[in-house]
């Protein structure tokens, strides 16, 4: 596996081209996801952030280029290899994508029962653990997805994504549609889980607060490729007009100030 800096790359995208009929979404796109980091993907609406995520997790076949996950080319892998790779990642779709005919608990148990041959009682215990770890109340397991609020559906989706103890977690706009308190808690939850479970997180997001609070690195998609990738400071130094506008706009500045204030507070507490 190629080394880049100190950490391994768990996902390597090289020369990716994706298109819908004649409409080219990405061209010559390169991206690395390093082990143990939280990578935030930003870009304007319609720049193909979600399409990139779908390409990596095997839902949108690229027109050209290669995508390596754990060193294997997913689209060239055999069916058995694909199943193995799929068990090593968890995906949280934008709306949660819970199976509407199953309860939350059954949703979480679905991948466990499908991939691991475990006694029912143990599967139930594991599902209960994941539901609780995703920050859901005790009685949520019995509810059907249609009875959940947007935030709860996301947490339930997260519980299902975590069911098999994945190494990579893919999140598609995890905080979109949550109230600020809920969004903040979700950020904390992701950072916590990353620390304690050693997750690598690939996150498509629009939420500037999330970018400051949770992400180790940021990749900016524009002009059909990744125009900048690195820490926020590194990305800002590229001076690309879209990036300037994104982070320099009123919301970007507010998120920056908020992050600074929080940092100082933490610094004081540390003293």
């Amino acid at each position: 596996m190629a080394k880049n800096g100190s950490a391994k790359n768990v996902v390597e995208v090289r020369g990716l081209k994706t298109q819908f009929d004649d409409f080219v979404v990405h061209e010559n796109l390169d991206l690395d996801l390093r082990e143990g980091e939280i990578l935030g993907i930003v870009g304007g609406s319609g720049t193909g952030k979600s399409v990139l995520l779908r390409a990596i997790i095997g839902l949108k076949r690229p027109a050209a280029g290669s995508i390596r996950v754990f060193g294997d080319d997913f689209y060239a892998a055999s069916v058995a290899d694909r199943r193995r790779i799929e068990q090593r990642w968890g995906v949280l779709f934008q709306g949660g994508a819970l199976f509407s005919s199953l309860t939350v608990a059954q949703n979480v148990m679905a991948p466990i029962n499908e991939h691991l041959k475990l006694p029912h009682a143990l599967a139930v215990d594991i599902a209960a653990l994941k539901i609780s770890m995703a920050g859901l109340p005790v009685d949520a397991g019995l509810k059907y997805p249609s009875e959940l609020s947007g935030g709860m559906a996301k947490r339930a989706g997260l519980a299902r994504a975590l069911a098999l103890d994945p190494e990579i977690l893919f999140l598609d706009e995890p905080t979109a549609g949550l109230d600020p308190i809920g969004a903040h808690r979700f950020d904390e939850l992701i950072v916590n889980l990353k620390k304690s479970l050693g997750l690598t997180v690939f996150m498509v997001t629009h939420d500037l607060d999330t970018l400051y609070a949770a992400c180790d690195r940021i990749a900016v998609i524009a002009e059909k490729r990744v125009i900048a990738c690195g820490t926020i400071d590194e990305v800002l130094q590229t001076g690309h007009p879209w990036i300037e506008e994104y982070f320099g706009g009123p919301r970007g500045r507010a998120a920056y100030l908020g992050h600074e204030a929080e940092g100082q507070e933490e610094g004081r507490r540390a003293d």
């Binding site: 005919s101 991939h115 475990l118 599902a127 209960a128 397991g141 249609s146």
Partner: protein, 379 residues
């Protein structure tokens, strides 16, 4: 560290305390084999001091950490000597992460008496059926009242929408309805030909085909196909609009969903169904006539003459008159079920099925009423 392998453990004593020495990979997929043994030990360990030595564990995931913590917390409080020892920093963090989430989460509802539940379902079904029929009656009333109101204000008539649905439910259904009726007409003629030949009464195949197709089969087949084709489509369209809150959006914009969505569909269907029934009947006659010609040597000219002589025009009208009533039933039921969709995609599927079943049921019931009615008035 111990050699990697499937999860396993040994039980021993350390002073007064029980000691569990874990080794191997404590990963979810390995835990199935030891879970029962572990639970047994859990019961044995209640009320005693317990030391869990995890230094022999090679790989640990949340499920492994969970079963260890479950064991440790199976009896609270454990005595002072109890501890989980020998964890590497990574495993320590994982064990800590899992600890607060051991509270039991309700996962499956409790079991109840099966017989009582059956009675409960039966009662619920009767009550539901009662309210469902009330609801559909009130929906029919609502549709008629809205239709009357719109009739008074012809400007609010949605012509574009009506024409669209006329094309969608009427014109586009012509090939399939025509083909079906053609084939059914041919089949009837074939059956008749075989039996009537034995009596030398081949010519009566004309009556058989004409009365059957004109009075009943043309319109009935058209109605059945439309119920399956358009009734279900109405439910799916309106139902998915309901799921995406489009119906609510219409309401707050001051638009009446009945007027915007239901009336054009029902109206288009009521207009097109007689046409479809007519086309069905004609193709049924052609199918029957062709078979009569090929296998009974009844020429088309003879077929037509015989029809004119012996088949009253009333047979044709009986068929056509029923068409708008069928159409109204199919359209209203389809739209009504669409409006009843709630919550999930599953509900949409259920309602779509229900819409077809109810529409077909109503069509047959209405047909039976008409049969009795025409019998009484001797038409």
């Amino acid at each position: 560290m111990a050699a990697a392998g499937p999860a396993d453990f040994d039980i021993g004593l350390e002073g007064e305390a029980l000691k569990l020495t874990a080794r191997g990979d404590w990963l979810a997929r390995n835990l199935g084999r030891i879970d029962t043994r572990l639970r047994d030990f859990e019961d044995d360990s209640v009320g005693r001091d317990l030391i869990i030595d995890v230094s022999g564990i090679d790989k640990l995931d949340t499920a492994g950490a969970m079963v260890l913590q479950r064991l440790f917390h199976a009896s609270e409080p454990r005595g002072g000597a109890s501890a989980i020892v020998g964890a590497s920093p990574g495993h320590e963090a994982l064990l800590k992460q899992v600890e607060p989430h051991l509270a039991p989460v309700a996962v499956s509802p409790g079991r109840r008496n099966a017989f009582l539940m059956m009675l409960n379902r039966l009662g619920q079904g009767v009550v539901d059926a009662y309210f469902a029929s009330l609801q559909i009656l009130s929906f029919i009333g609502l549709t008629l009242v809205t239709a009357a109101r719109v009739a008074a204000l012809p400007k609010r008539f949605r012509l574009t929408s009506i024409f669209y649905h006329m094309e969608e439910t009427g014109l586009n259904a012509v090939p399939i309805i025509g083909l079906m009726c053609f084939l059914i007409g041919a089949v009837i003629a074939f059956m008749g030909a075989k039996i009537l030949k034995q009596f030398g009464a081949e010519i009566f195949v004309v009556e058989m085909v004409a009365i059957g197709v004109l009075r009943e089969l043309g319109v009935l087949l058209a109605a059945i196909l439309i119920a399956g084709r358009s009734g279900s489509a109405f439910t799916a369209q309106i139902g998915s609009m309901k799921l995406r809150e489009e119906i609510d959006a219409l309401k707050v914009l001051g638009l009446d969903p009945i007027e915007v969505l239901v009336l054009p569909r029902v109206f288009a269907l009521v207009l097109m169904m007689p046409v479809l029934a007519f086309i069905g009947a004609m193709l049924g006659l052609i199918g029957g006539g062709l078979v009569a010609w090929r296998s009974l040597d009844i020429s088309p000219a003879l077929f037509l003459v015989r029809m004119q002589e012996s088949i009253a025009m009333s047979n044709f009208w009986v068929g056509i008159i029923k068409a708008p009533f069928f159409a109204f039933a199919i359209g209203v039921v389809g739209c009504f079920q669409g409006m009843q969709v709630e919550g999930s995609a599953e509900s949409l599927g259920q309602r779509t099925t229900l819409s077809v079943v109810q529409a077909l049921f109503l069509v047959i019931v209405i047909d039976a009423f008409f049969a009795m009615f025409f019998l009484e008035i001797d038409y």
